[in-house]
């Protein structure tokens, strides 16, 4: 009698537990919940550790899930110092009051406008290095990945470099679905083989082969460095720098009121000296924004850089002082010529943000992907959009 009540309690708690996990973003659907219940029948319920390991392998699906799982497992089946082997804890249990107690993760603060940090100040290495650098444990990385770029310290730039390298690998010559004839390859090219067999009287003596073509994707990045982007452009620039130096087919531009090509500034120089060269050559750093005219200039002066195998990434918050019509027109041209047009807006990381600025409104219809770029996680997801 007692047993079955316990069983039912356990079932309810497990279902609630699954729901709580799903609310925190884990990939837990009813199918996983069913597996979780099956798991409880398969493991030793008296062994709390075993229940933990079992449910963990069923209900998590990536390493980022593990801390959340552990936290919720504690909430649902915590003991606070009592015997970890207690059967009572799991069966009778103290189910938490409701699942609504789960607070959403703290949202990144929306950056305030107009805190102009000039390029020269970035060059000053003393700035922004308060506490000593900790050893990178897992938890450090966890914290880092959600951290808004506007509050990043200089030592965390290393992580950005890692993300850029990953993206570069992703873009590097990828095998295409199409095939081309070769002398020796993976597949027999039947059409050609039959064709050739005609000269030997229909006997296919010489086999010809096919192999996959490699697909070479190019990348053009256009980064807004106007005043309103100040908090972000520093890190985005580090990202672009890393990208420029780990991937050959990328062209980098900056714009605020006018457009500058900075590919050669970034390429092959140490980061600090690249910044130094930039501050000398890019005139209107932290100035106003005229996205439309800048893109028009790009279309006019660098048409050869963009073709159907090119992914164009625009990094901007969309605060445009120019005419929205001009921006729209420039984007139409760019979209027609490029393979994929991606707009990354750092402000999108804030849940309250709505792309209501006139510039953003004008741009949205022409953009293939509109995503955020305010933290490492968002840059990592960028990887998913980089295909043609």
């Amino acid at each position: 009698m007692m047993e079955s009540t316990h069983q039912r309690d356990l079932l309810t708690t497990t279902v609630r537990f699954c729901r709580a996990l799903r609310e925190r973003g884990l990939l837990v659907t009813p199918a996983e919940a069913i597996d979780a219940v099956k798991t409880l029948n398969l493991v030793d319920l008296g062994d709390r550790q075993e229940v933990y390991w079992g449910l963990r392998s069923v209900l998590t699906s990536r390493v980022e899930d593990l801390p959340i799982f552990e936290e919720l497992f504690e909430t649902f089946w915590g003991f606070n110092g009592s015997s970890p082997q207690s059967l009572k804890g799991l069966l009778g249990g103290m189910p938490p009051p409701t699942t609504e107690v789960q607070e959403p993760p703290p949202t990144p603060k929306r950056p305030t406008k107009g805190m102009a940090l000039s390029l020269e100040r970035w060059l000053n290495p003393d700035e922004g290095q308060g506490e000593p650098i900790g050893l990178p444990g897992m938890s450090d990385q966890e914290a880092l990945i959600d951290k808004d770029f506007s509050i990043f310290g200089a030592e965390e730039l290393e992580e950005i470099t890692k993300v850029a390298t990953r993206i570069a690998r992703r873009l590097a010559a990828r095998p295409s679905r199409r095939r081309k004839p070769t002398r020796k390859g993976q597949w027999v090219d039947l059409r050609r083989t039959f064709r050739r067999s005609l000269k030997t009287g229909g006997d296919p003596i010489e086999l010809t082969f096919q192999e996959r073509k490699t697909r070479k994707t190019k990348l053009v990045t256009l980064c807004d460095v106007s005043g309103s982007m100040d908090l972000y452009s520093r890190f985005l620039l580090q990202f672009l720098y890393a990208l420029q130096n780990s991937f050959a087919r990328v062209e980098t531009f900056t714009f605020s009121t006018s457009l500058s090509r900075i590919t050669d500034h970034l390429k092959g120089h140490p980061y600090l000296s690249a910044l130094g060269r930039l501050s000398g050559d890019v005139r209107d750093w932290s100035g106003g924004t005229r996205i439309g005219p800048s893109l028009t200039t790009f279309n006019k002066e660098w048409p050869s850089l963009v073709d159907k195998r090119t992914i164009v990434i625009i990094l901007s918050d969309g605060w445009d002082t120019g005419e929205p019509e001009e921006l729209a027109e420039a984007l139409v041209t760019l979209k027609k010529r490029s393979g994929r047009l991606i707009w990354l807006n750092p402000l999108l990381g804030s849940p309250t943000y709505q792309p209501l600025t006139r510039g953003m409104q004008a741009a949205l219809p022409y953009v293939d992907v509109f995503a955020s770029a305010h933290n490492l996680a968002s840059l990592k997801t960028l990887e998913r959009h980089l295909y043609l």
Binding site: E32, D44, R212
Partner: protein, 296 residues
Amino acid sequence: MREEIRKIQELMEQEAYITDPAIATSVYLAMALKKPLLIEGHAGVGKTEIAKVLARALDTNLIRLQCYEGLDATTALYEWNYSKQLLRIKLEEASAHSAEEKEAVIFSEPFLLKRPLLQAITQDGQAPVLLIDEVDRSDEEFESFLLEVLSDFQVTIPEIGTIKATHHPYVVLTSNRSRELSDALRRRCLYLWIDYPSLAKELKIVQTKVPGINEQLAGEIARFMQTVRKMKLNKVPGVAETLDWATALVALHASYLGDEVVRETLGCFVKDKGDLRKFQAELDAGHLAGMITPLP
């Protein structure tokens, strides 16, 4: 602890794989729930080894599919043996068989090259272990194809028909996280994250895998590696590197970690130029003793 899980742990330890309850539980559940097991973790922590040991412990075959960019169905599933087909056509030219009969012959099983996935589901006898190694290296198209095979366990070949699995193989997938895998694939699998081993576990691994190592040296190596993994390195050494290093030290008849012998063998676990310089600087500064963490 559940008897079955203990047994799995025992089986794996018999095969000289030092495991912990987390790994044993996941492996057990993968077998009991008949779901693929996705293993992630840093390089060199023994992800691939789990599948190999599992196959040996279950006394069944291991079928391995190594993933790479551009891997596609013809390399993973099946392909017709074209050369053999062409030869047969030549041989049959003078025969009285009708075109249909000839066709039926050349599109039959003897002319089919079974690739790992098809092999795994058509294997005679016991269910094999199918290891899909470094799945993050394959592209998305292949991933979705893989999902299809892993959910239905059947394969349709237009010329022959549908081949149904004679049994569900035990599927183990490994990933180094060089690319985000799709949520669909992740959902389909049980998940196991293998971290770098704890001091005690690593010590046990060294003692099991490197015969003839003395206790002091094994302890010093394990403690040293704990420090090394906390340093900011470009290539953090895994357990594989620890074992290489321990084997080298035993071959050099070292009985403890001395400055000279460490310098000579740095290459066993330092695989990056910048890291090497960092270590040499540490050694020059006489920090070796400090890097062997004291026992708790």
